[in-house]
């Protein structure tokens, strides 16, 4: 098949640009994985090796056995799971109320949710720290969970509301004619249909809680209560030279999020912009 020359040149140029972009953009991730799998002695070399050869898992076992890693991993897991579960339940109830009922305060609540989403997190740091301190909840995983839940809720409520709006009311009306109660309708009709939305929002909640550094850094005072990000940073400043262990630990830390993102990549954009752009 003969393609006219300018078009072919353009396509080649375009593909070259795409390849270049991919190479540059993936490089940090590639370098993270590459470093993590290198044997210890190969990391600090003036001439870097571009393939992890010989291949080694020493950095990973090194990281896992560092003091505090497993405890703080468990902390991260507990807090993150609690936030995800609570966020789904609380946001789903709220979204049901907001889409299926008209009541006083509905609109003020929605606008409040929109506005509160704009408040920068650093501004909340000081009052949340002082409030939890006077409530004797510093260093408490429960206090941290509550904080994340509040950070996550505006967005989750908003997105779930968007998904619920897309489900035709006729379905519920039919169930009502058949004599199903409202609670039953929520459970057997709305919940299964809105499952994609639940997945999208739970990923968001997961990422917020799992990735956060600032709040955990300020609210958690001793290492047994750190979450993984705080552990990682303290590890880098106290023993800054062990880049093998540090990068391997970072890889382990990033892994669940990357897997999650890949699983839901189709919904990622739709979820992020749902409700934000009106159609």
């Amino acid at each position: 098949m003969s393609v006219p020359f300018p078009a072919r040149a353009r396509r080649i140029g375009l593909n070259a640009a795409a390849v270049l972009f991919c190479a540059v953009w993936i490089f940090p991730v590639y370098w993270m994985v590459n470093t993590a799998f290198k044997p210890y002695g190969d990391i600090l070399k003036p001439t870097p090796g571009f393939l992890p050869f010989p291949f080694s898992l020493a950095n990973f076992s090194d990281a896992v056995h560092k003091s505090g890693f497993l405890t703080d991993l468990a902390n991260s897991a507990v807090v993150t799971c609690s936030v995800v579960l609570l966020a789904i339940v609380v946001a789903f109830l709220a979204a049901t109320a907001l889409t299926r009922f008209h009541f006083f305060g509905r609109r003020s609540f929605l606008v409040g949710v929109l506005i509160v989403q704009m408040v920068p997190q650093p501004a909340l740091l000081i009052p949340i720290f002082l409030s939890l301190k006077s409530a004797h909840m510093l260093n408490s995983l429960f206090g941290l969970t509550l904080t994340y839940l509040a950070l996550v809720l505006p967005f989750t409520v908003w997105v779930l509301r968007g998904f619920l709006q897309g489900i035709p009311v006729e379905l519920e009306e039919a169930a009502m004619v058949d004599g199903a109660s409202r609670v039953r309708i929520i459970r057997t009709i709305l919940l299964p249909l809105v499952l994609p939305g639940v997945i999208a929002t739970s990923v968001f909640a997961f990422i917020t809680a799992w990735n956060d550094y600032v709040f955990a850094y300020v609210l958690m005072k001793d290492q047994s209560h750190y979450t993984l990000p705080v552990w990682l940073v303290s590890f880098s400043t106290s023993a800054g030279t062990d880049y093998g262990g540090l990068i391997a630990a970072s890889t382990l830390f990033a892994l669940p999020v990357v897997v999650f993102f890949m699983l839901i990549q189709r919904r990622l954009v739709a979820g992020m912009t749902a409700g934000a752009v009106k159609d």
Partner: protein, 363 residues
């Protein structure tokens, strides 16, 4: 779902908190409060509205009771979310303003005795020699980040639309991989990439023979290169969201418009200006405003990579507020800076906020 289980009816009656919330909400939403346009009268009662939202109320009950009963279920459903938001977002928002007017230092922290400071915190912040450089830095850095992210993001989005299916999948994969790496992990990887002596970037740059021997270069050692270091990191992380969102927006522009433009012999720039841009405007606006908010508040990456240094020359507003509060233990001044930041951000996004509140009209 077990069919035998009898559906519970109790929640329809509404527990105490639902009722309290009902009262609060009823007083909170005065008609017309949102827009000043809507005339008087209770906002949209649902008596005339079809759908499952319409509860069956007794015909001869007093009006208040009927209204409470009608609102009980939704307000009960809403109560947990409202409680958490009020407690952990609403209350701190009020409190940060209160603290900014208090003499909240170490003594207050330990004795619990807090005295009012009037405008002293704000005066101290306004008279601080740091203020002007910090403001300029924050604005400049934010602008550079937003511009870089949007330009690269738009270019990548437009590129994606013209690529073949396989190449586009590869680009999507790369974008998602970069997007997924958590802030802390990517900041630490950045430290490692740009490490003096052993960092691969220094090595690569030296190999190009363009800049001389850079192997010893310490990127966080001078102000400009420290900002460049963080700029690269934040742009690397933010482009994926922008590119994927804009790509989604671009792919919704109807083909015939482009075909018509091609028939009329329009050049690529004209096509972009006359067709692409107008269609993309709403989504571009959204992405811009989100970028402004996020980039204004960049904290973790700066904190890990530079700690605001060297000599506090990469200290932006969030870092300044943080160090005032948590390093100098002057929570009052830290809160004052936070309040000023929020006000500045609100001013910068005022139009958008106004649109949001307006959109409350037809929610």
């Amino acid at each position: 779902m077990p069919l035998s289980e009898k559906p519970r009816q109790t929640s329809a009656a509404g527990p105490a908190e639902g009722r309290a919330a009902a009262d609060a909400a009823a007083t909170a939403e005065a008609p017309g409060v949102l827009s000043g346009v809507r005339p008087t009268g209770p906002v949209r009662t649902d008596a005339d509205r079809p759908g499952p939202g319409r509860p069956r109320t007794g015909r001869n009950r007093p009006a208040v009771l009927r209204r409470l009963r009608r609102n009980a279920l939704p307000l009960t459903l809403l109560a947990p979310a409202a409680a958490v938001l009020a407690l952990v977002l609403g209350y701190p928002l009020v409190r940060v303003v209160v603290i900014s007017f208090q003499d909240y230092g170490l003594r207050a922290l330990f004795t619990g005795r807090i005295s009012w400071a009037g405008w002293a915190n704000y005066r101290a912040v306004l008279e601080d020699a740091q203020l002007v450089p910090v403001l300029l830095r924050t604005a400049g850095f934010c602008a550079a980040l937003v511009a870089g992210t949007l330009l690269i993001g738009l270019a990548v989005a437009m590129m994606m639309g013209r690529l073949g299916r396989r190449m586009r999948t590869a680009v999507t994969f790369v974008l998602i991989a970069a997007w997924a790496v958590p802030n802390v992990a990517s900041s630490l990887v950045w430290q490692w990439l740009f490490q003096p002596v052993y960092g691969v970037v220094n090595w690569l740059l030296t190999r190009t023979h363009l800049f001389g021997d850079l192997t010893q270069r310490d990127w966080s050692g001078s102000t400009l290169s420290a900002f460049l270091l963080v700029w690269l990191l934040v742009v690397w992380q933010s482009v994926p969201f922008v590119a994927l969102t804009l790509h989604a927006g671009l792919s919704q522009i109807p083909r015939p418009y482009y075909e018509a433009a091609a028939l009329d012999g329009a050049g690529p720039w004209t096509v972009f200006r006359v067709i692409t841009l107008p269609f993309l405007r709403p989504i571009l606006g959204l992405v811009t405003i989100l970028s402004v908010i996020w980039d204004f508040n960049v904290f973790t990456q700066l904190w890990i990579l530079t700690r605001g240094g060297p000599n506090q020359t990469t200290t932006t507003l969030p870092i300044w507020s943080f160090t005032k509060a948590f390093s100098s233990n002057s929570f009052g001044q830290g809160a004052a800076i936070a309040v000023v930041s929020v006000l500045l951000l609100l001013a910068a996004t005022a139009l958008y906020v106004r649109r949001l509140v307006r959109s409350g009209e037809d929610l």
